[in-house]
C-alpha cells in the first residue's frame, strides 16, 4: 500500500476512526496499540503476507533477547546482544545481499579462470527490510548499553517495530524516543491532527507535483543514456538530485503527518540539506535518522574522531561504505559511499578555513552531491561512466523534453525554483512563517487547503495503474 494511493486514502481514515473510538478507552492505551498493530500488519501484508511473518520474527527475536540481556550480566549479556545482532543482520544479509555476495564471488572466481554458471537465487526483497531491521537492532543495542529499559509488553513492542507510518522507509526511530509513546494512552489533540494533515498534504504535493514529474524526465534520460550529451545530461543529473530529495522528504513528511494523526511524534528526517555549506553539515540534514544511527552505532563505537586524524578518516570511510551497502546490494552503491566519504575527508577542512562565500559553498556541496548520485542512480558502472562523460554545457537550444512535454518540463523547473525559494525562506524564518499561517482565520486556512488539494488533483503527476513507489522503498 503506497502513501500516494487511493487505498491508503481509505485505510488511514479507517484506522484513525478505530483508533479514536471513544467507547474503546483503555487506561494504558492497549486498544490503541492493538489497532496500530493490526493496521500495521495489514499495511505491510498488503504487499505480501509473507513479509508480515518476517517482521513478526524480527520483532519476536528482538523482544525476547532484550529481556534476556536485561536479565543477565557480564559475558552472558554480551552474548545475547551478539546473538540478536547476528540474527537481525543474518536476515538482512540473506534477503538483501545473498544475490550480491554470490554474484561478486562468481565474478571473482571467473577472474581466476573459473567458468561456470552461478546458481539462480529466487529471493524476494521484502519492502523496507533495512529500515525495521535497523530499528530493531538499535533497540537491542540500547538495551545492552542500558540506555533503554526493555519492553515487557509484547503488544507495545510489536506495535513499535511495525508502526506503519514509518515501517517501510523510516524515519528509523530510536526506542528511547518512540517506545515510551506506546506506553500511555494517547489523548486526541485537534491541533496535532491538523498539523498532521498539513504535513500529509505537503508530502503529497512534493511527491505528486514534483518528484514523480521530474522522475519521467530522469527515467527517460537514463534509458537513453547512450545518446545523451550536454545540457540534457546535466539536467537529468540535477533533476535526479531534486527527485530523490522531494521523493524521500515527501515520504518522511507523510509518515510524520500520519503519525501525528495518532498522537505520535516521529523525528524530522530532513532539514533543508541543499543549503549545507559542508558535507558534515549535509549529513546532519539529510536522512537524519540513518546518519545518526550510523553515528551512534558504528562511528562512535569505532572510536569516532577521538583516536587521531588517520583513524577518523578510516572510520568515516567505514561508515560511508556501509551506508552505501545499506542503500543497495550493488558495487555502484559502495562506490557512491566511497565518493561521499572522499568528499567529506578532503573538502570539509579546506572549506571551513574560508570564511564567507556561503552561496558558493552551497553550490559546491549540492553540485558534488548531485554528481555522486550518478552512481546511486546508475544500474551499473558502464552506464554511470556514460552519464559522467555525457554531462556538458552544450545543446541547450535543442533540449529534448524526455517524456515530458516542453510546457510540463518548464512547469517542473518552475516548481524546483519554487521549492528552492521555500527552502531559503523556511531556513531564515521557518517558525515565524508557520505561526503566521496558523494565526489566519479558519476560513482562510480552509480555503488555502482546498486550493492546495485542488492543485494537487489537477496538476499532480498521478494516473491509472500508477505504481510510482517511493525511491527508498527498495532499500
Amino acid at each position: 500500500m503506497l502513501f500516494n494511493s487511493f487505498s491508503y486514502a481509505l485505510f488511514l481514515p479507517l484506522v484513525f476512526i478505530l483508533y479514536w473510538l471513544p467507547l474503546m478507552k483503555s487506561r494504558r492505551g492497549e486498544w490503541q496499540n492493538l489497532v496500530l498493530l493490526v493496521a500495521s500488519y495489514a499495511f505491510y501484508g498488503a504487499w505480501d503476507w509473507r513479509f508480515a511473518l518476517l517482521i513478526a520474527f524480527t520483532s519476536l527475536s528482538s523482544y525476547l533477547t532484550a529481556l534476556r540481556i536485561d536479565g543477565s550480566e557480564g559475558a552472558a549479556r554480551k552474548r545475547w546482544a551478539a546473538l540478536n545482532i547476528a540474527v537481525n543482520l543474518g536476515i538482512l544479509a540473506y534477503f538483501k545481499y545473498a544475490g550480491f555476495f554470490v554474484d561478486s564471488f562468481v565474478a571473482l572466481l571467473s577472474l581466476l579462470g573459473w567458468k561456470g554458471t552461478p546458481p539462480a537465487l529466487h529471493i524476494i526483497l521484502p519492502v523496507g527490510i533495512s529500515f525495521y531491521t535497523f530499528q530493531a537492532l538499535g533497540y537491542t543495542i540500547d538495551v545492552y548499553r542500558g540506555r533503554t529499559r526493555p519492553s515487557r509488553n509484547p503488544l507495545r513492542f510489536f506495535a513499535f517495530v511495525s508502526f506503519f507510518p514509518q515501517l517501510v522507509a523510516g524515519p528509523i526511530e530510536r526506542a528511547e524516543r518512540l517506545l515510551p509513546q506506546f506506553d500511555t494512552r494517547r489523548g486526541f489533540d485537534y491541533g496535532k491532527a491538523v498539523e498532521g494533515l498539513c504535513l500529509i498534504l505537503w508530502g503529497l504535493s512534493l511527491k505528486l507535483l514534483l518528484a514523480d514529474r521530474v522522475a519521467v524526465y530522469v527515467d527517460a534520460a537514463w534509458k537513453g543514456v547512450d545518446g545523451l550529451a550536454g545540457v540534457p545530461a546535466l539536467l537529468a543529473v540535477l533533476l535526479f538530485a531534486v527527485q530523490l530529495y522531494a521523493d524521500f522528504y515527501a515520504y518522511s513528511e507523510i509518515a510524520r503527518g500520519s503519525a501525528k494523526l495518532f498522537g505520535m511524534e516521529l523525528m524530522v528526517n530532513f532539514r533543508r540539506p541543499y543549503l549545507s555549506t559542508s558535507f558534515k553539515e549535509f549529513w546532519k540534514r539529510w536522512h537524519i535518522s540513518l546518519s545518526s544511527w550510523f553515528g551512534d552505532y558504528v562511528y562512535i563505537p569505532l572510536g569516532g574522531n577521538r583516536k587521531g586524524a588517520a583513524r577518523r578518516v578510516c572510520n568515516v570511510f567505514i561508515v560511508f561504505l556501509l551506508s552505501g551497502l545499506w542503500h543497495g546490494a550493488s558495487w555502484t552503491f559502495v562506490a557512491w559511499g566511497f565518493l561521499c566519504a572522499l568528499f567529506m575527508v578532503t573538502l570539509d577542512r579546506p572549506m571551513s578555513r574560508i570564511n564567507g562565500f556561503r552561496p558558493l559553498k552551497i553550490t559546491l556541496v549540492s553540485g558534488l552531491w548531485a554528481l555522486s548520485l550518478i552512481l546511486f542512480r546508475a544500474p551499473d558502472f558502464p552506464a554511470a561512466m556514460k552519464m559522467f562523460s555525457a554531462i556538458g554545457f552544450d545543446g541547450f537550444s535543442g533540449l529534448p523534453a524526455y517524456g515530458l512535454g516542453r510546457t510540463e518540463l518548464i512547469f517542473a523547473c518552475a516548481l524546483v525554483l519554487l521549492l528552492a525559494l521555500q527552502e531559503v525562506l523556511w531556513e531564515r524564518r521557518g517558525g515565524a512563517l508557520a505561526a503566521k499561517f496558523l494565526r489566519q482565520p479558519p476560513a482562510v486556512r480552509v480555503l488555502c487547503a482546498v486550493f492546495a488539494l485542488l492543485l494537487l488533483v489537477l496538476l499532480g503527476h498521478y494516473g491509472i495503474g500508477n505504481d510510482s513507489r517511493f525511491l527508498y522503498f527498495q532499500f
Partner: protein, 324 residues
C-alpha cells in the same frame, strides 16, 4: 473533512462539465447506450435480439442484416476490449430499459483474466465501457466487482483520469470548456455496428502465415475463473428474466489460429448446453476467405464488412433453424 468535501465537489463539477472528457468523435459505445435507452423509452420490447461482446461483435456482425433476416430488431451492445464480467453488468443495466427475447454472447469476451487486476489497455477499455453506462446506482453496485480500490476513483472521474490533458492536450480541454454537456447523436436509427475494416487480408500477411504459422493458439486461449463465474451469472439472469441465451464465436482467419478445436474444448464447459454457433469450426469453410478478415498478423483479428455480412447471415440461419 470540509476540505476533502470541497475539493471533491469541485472535481465533481469539472466532471459534470466534462472538462476532461476524451474526444467524443469515435465514442460508439456512448452512442450504443444512447440509442438503447432511446428504444427502451419508446417501448420495453423494442429490441428482440441483443448481442453482447467486444470489438469482435461490433465489427463482425451487421445488426441491420440480422434484423432483416429475422424480422426482429437486433442490437449490438458491445464495447472495445470488453470482458464477460463487464458484459454481465452491461446486460444488467440494459435489462432495466429493454427486454430482448434472445441474448447472443460473443465468446471472445470469455477469456482468462483477473478483472480487478487489469492494467494498461485492458483497464482503459474497461474505464471507457464503464463511463458510458448511464444508471448511477447500477454503476455503483458493480464498481467493487469491476475495479480495484486504487482504480475505482479513476473509473468515476474523468478529471482524475485525464487531468494530464492540461499538459498533453490543452486544445481538447479548451474545446471541452467551450462545448459542455453530453454529445449529440443525430442518426435516426443505430443498432450498434461499427465497421472499421473494409479491405481483407493481403499477400504479405498471407505469406507470413505460411512462413511463421498462426499467431494465435487455441490451446493458449483458456477460460479463467472470473470469466466462468460471469457466464454463470449471465445464465442465471437470463433464466430469471425468461431470455433465451446462445453463444456465438465470430471467427478469425483459419490460418490465424492454431488448434481451434482446443479453443472449442476450453469454451465448451462454460457454454454448457446452451446453443452455440462456433464459426471458428473449420466446417464453416465458406467464411474463411481472405476478403472477410482484417489485414493483420496481430493476435486480435477482426472481420471486414464482407465477413460481417456472411457472419450475420449464418447467425440468422442458426437462430431460425434452432427456433431461438
Amino acid at each position: 473533512m470540509v476540505i476533502v468535501l470541497a475539493a471533491g465537489a469541485l472535481v465533481a463539477l469539472l466532471d459534470a462539465r466534462r472538462v476532461f472528457a476524451q474526444e467524443e468523435g469515435n465514442n460508439h459505445t456512448g452512442k450504443r447506450w444512447h440509442y438503447l435507452y432511446k428504444y427502451g423509452k419508446q417501448r420495453k420490447n423494442a429490441i428482440d435480439v441483443l448481442v453482447l461482446g467486444n470489438s469482435h461483435a461490433y465489427t463482425g456482425l451487421l445488426p441491420e442484416v440480422l434484423s432483416q433476416e429475422l424480422g426482429r430488431r437486433s442490437f449490438i451492445l458491445a464495447s472495445q476490449g470488453n470482458r464477460i464480467t463487464d458484459s454481465y453488468y452491461m446486460l444488467e443495466e440494459a435489462l432495466t430499459v429493454c427486454h430482448p427475447k434472445l441474448l447472443v454472447v460473443e465468446t471472445y469476451t470469455i477469456r482468462d483474466y483477473r478483472q480487478r487486476r487489469m492494467t494498461g489497455v485492458d483497464l482503459n477499455c474497461q474505464f471507457q465501457s464503464f463511463e458510458n453506462r448511464r444508471n448511477p446506482w447500477l454503476k455503483l453496485k458493480s464498481t467493487p466487482a469491476l475495479f480495484s480500490v486504487d482504480n475505482a476513483p479513476y473509473a468515476w472521474s474523468q478529471t482524475l483520469r485525464n487531468h494530464s490533458y492540461l499538459f498533453d492536450n490543452p486544445a481538447l480541454v479548451s474545446y471541452n470548456l467551450k462545448h459542455p454537456g453530453a454529445p449529440v447523436y443525430k442518426d435516426k436509427e443505430y443498432l450498434g455496428r461499427f465497421i472499421r475494416f473494409t479491405s481483407g487480408l493481403e499477400a504479405p500477411v498471407l505469406e507470413r502465415y505460411r512462413r511463421e504459422g498462426p499467431p494465435e493458439d487455441g490451446a493458449a486461449m483458456g477460460v479463467g475463473r472470473d470469466a466462468a463465474r460471469s457466464v454463470r451469472k449471465i445464465r442465471a439472469l437470463c433464466k430469471k428474466k425468461g431470455i433465451q441465451l446462445m453463444f456465438l464465436t465470430i471467427p478469425m482467419y483459419h490460418e490465424h489460429i492454431a488448434r481451434p478445436e482446443a479453443l472449442h474444448a476450453h469454451l465448451a464447459p462454460v457454454v454448457g448446453d446452451s446453443p452455440w454457433l462456433d464459426l471458428q469450426d473449420p466446417a464453416y469453410n465458406a467464411i474463411f476467405t481472405p476478403d472477410c478478415f482484417e489485414n493483420t498478423y496481430n493476435a486480435n483479428q477482426h472481420q471486414t464488412s464482407t465477413g460481417a455480412y456472411k457472419t450475420s447471415l449464418l447467425l440468422a440461419r442458426f437462430i431460425r433453424e434452432n427456433r431461438l
